[in-house]
């Protein structure tokens, strides 16, 4: 079994109008090589499910600036001013979800659960149009599953079967997004033979992954570089 593919082959799996799930938190742990290739390809009218919308000049920001995105399903889009302008201009629709609800909706999509109840957002604008139901004296909202046509995720290493491990907080939404699309592409920093990743440590089992790609270049931009002083206590 060898799921190692090319970035060109990955691009052929995503069509205009597709729903694309993407890993990443801010620009940490984003599939940056796949995003750059998607920008070059110019695939349009995308609905992107991702916690954030990138920043100007990086991540999903590239696709937004290039006019490829029709709708964002996210929890926080505050870092991207270009998106703000496009929302005001009516060019992009934004659906905001509480972060935990977003994560759980995608997990549900990957786990065969069409809907679930959560206490998050009861009595807030998030509850509008949603069923509210009381369990054991507390109100909950019904939230429905999210699935994608394609998922782009970033992992640290993959084996050729498609098993994935991540690195620190670059894990974030990636393992969740990898479960919930019809075609899942993982870009990684290193590809090893099957058996070279410890079976105990694999975070995403290969069953979820359709194609593995070695990223050509990792910029790994830092959004907020904060340092402590050598003498100070810091956080």
């Amino acid at each position: 079994m060898n799921k190692v593919g090319t970035i060109e082959a990955a691009m052929e799996r995503i069509q205009d109008g597709a729903t694309l799930l993407m890993g990443g938190f801010g620009v940490c742990g984003i599939p940056e090589n796949l995003v750059r290739a998607l920008q070059q390809r110019g695939t349009k009218n995308l609905t992107i499910v991702s916690n954030n919308a990138g920043v100007e000049g990086a991540g999903i920001g590239l696709l937004i600036e290039n006019g490829q995105v029709r709708k964002m399903i996210s929890s926080y889009i505050g870092e991207n001013k270009v998106l703000e302008q496009k929302v005001i201009a009516g060019e992009i629709e934004v659906e905001l979800n509480p972060q935990g609800t977003l994560a759980e909706r995608v997990r549900a999509g990957g786990a065969g659960i069409p809907a679930f109840f959560t206490p998050t957002g009861v009595g807030t604008p998030v509850a509008e149009g949603k069923e509210t139901r009381n369990f054991n004296g507390r109100d909950y909202l019904m939230e429905t599953a999210i699935r994608g046509d394609v998922a782009f995720v970033k992992a640290y290493k993959a084996d050729k079967h498609g098993n994935l491990v991540y690195r620190m907080t670059a894990r974030n939404f990636n393992p969740v997004m990898a479960t919930a699309a019809d075609f899942v592409v993982a870009e990684v920093e290193e590809i090893v033979e099957a058996g070279q990743l410890d079976a105990e440590q694999i975070v995403t089992p290969s069953v979820f992954v359709d194609m593995v790609i070695k990223g050509e270049r990792y910029d790994k931009r830092i959004e907020k570089r904060v340092n402590r002083q050598k003498s100070g206590a810091g956080i």
Binding site: C28, N51, P98, Q99, G100, E104, P119, M168, I235
Partner: protein, 220 residues
């Protein structure tokens, strides 16, 4: 009082609520400052909702790692005993009631414990991030904020006017003027910060405050 000293006063008082062994989530801004005032001998594990339990210090210059950030997207480090997990697991922790205290800022809080801190109608909405999950799921929610807005208006109201982040979710409010607790009877004035009188707090507060004299002064 300068804004910086107000922020410090609030953060110091918030940190006194932490107990040894607590798992705590600190929001962006004043709440994050509370990490600097954790009492001696009190080990608190900080949760970062992007997928880390056990946030460490900020890194030294040159030791930043783009793969290691907190929920505010700042570079951080880990502590011995840290662990990483994905976003769904991170919010299973939050929603499942495993976080002892969430400290978070507010635009408005009211005497029923309702909280508004994510949108102002007519302004660009940045998103609620993890705030709604944190306030709905944590065992205890502490609001850390300045008592009044830039215009001097009370941020502690009889009833929130902005779109809500959560209903009846707030337990305690800590400002540079006072500490207040949401009780079944209403909003109780627990303590007054040093330098302020009960009367001053009452005048600066729109909400109905329950006052049981003598109101103690916050210990420094």
């Amino acid at each position: 009082m300068t804004s910086a000293s107000k922020r410090e006063l609030i953060a110091r008082r918030v940190a006194r609520e932490f107990k040894d062994g607590f798992y705590v989530n600190l929001g962006i801004g004043i709440p994050t400052l509370a990490a600097s005032y954790i009492p001696e001998g009190c080990e608190v594990i900080l949760h970062s909702e992007n997928g880390l339990m056990g946030i460490g210090d900020y890194p030294l210059e040159g030791e930043e790692d783009a793969d290691l950030i907190n929920a505010g997207k700042e570079t951080v480090t880990t502590i011995p005993g840290s662990s990483f997990f994905n976003a769904a697991e991170s919010f299973a922790i939050v929603r499942g009631g495993h976080i002892d205290i969430t400290v978070i800022g507010a635009m408005e809080v009211d005497q029923h414990g309702d909280l508004a801190n994510w949108m102002i109608p007519g302004k660009m909405i940045k998103g609620m991030g993890g705030a709604m999950d944190l306030v709905a799921g944590s065992k205890r929610v502490i609001i850390a904020m300045q008592h009044t807005g830039p215009d001097g208006a009370s941020k502690i109201l009889k009833k929130c006017t902005l779109p809500l982040t959560g209903v009846k979710v707030v337990d305690t409010i800590v400002t540079e003027m006072a500490v207040m607790k949401v009780t079944p009877e209403g909003l109780l004035l627990l303590e007054v910060q040093p330098g302020f009188t009960t009367q001053q707090v009452l005048e600066a507060t729109d909400a109905d405050l329950i006052v049981k004299e003598p109101v103690p002064t916050c210990p420094l």
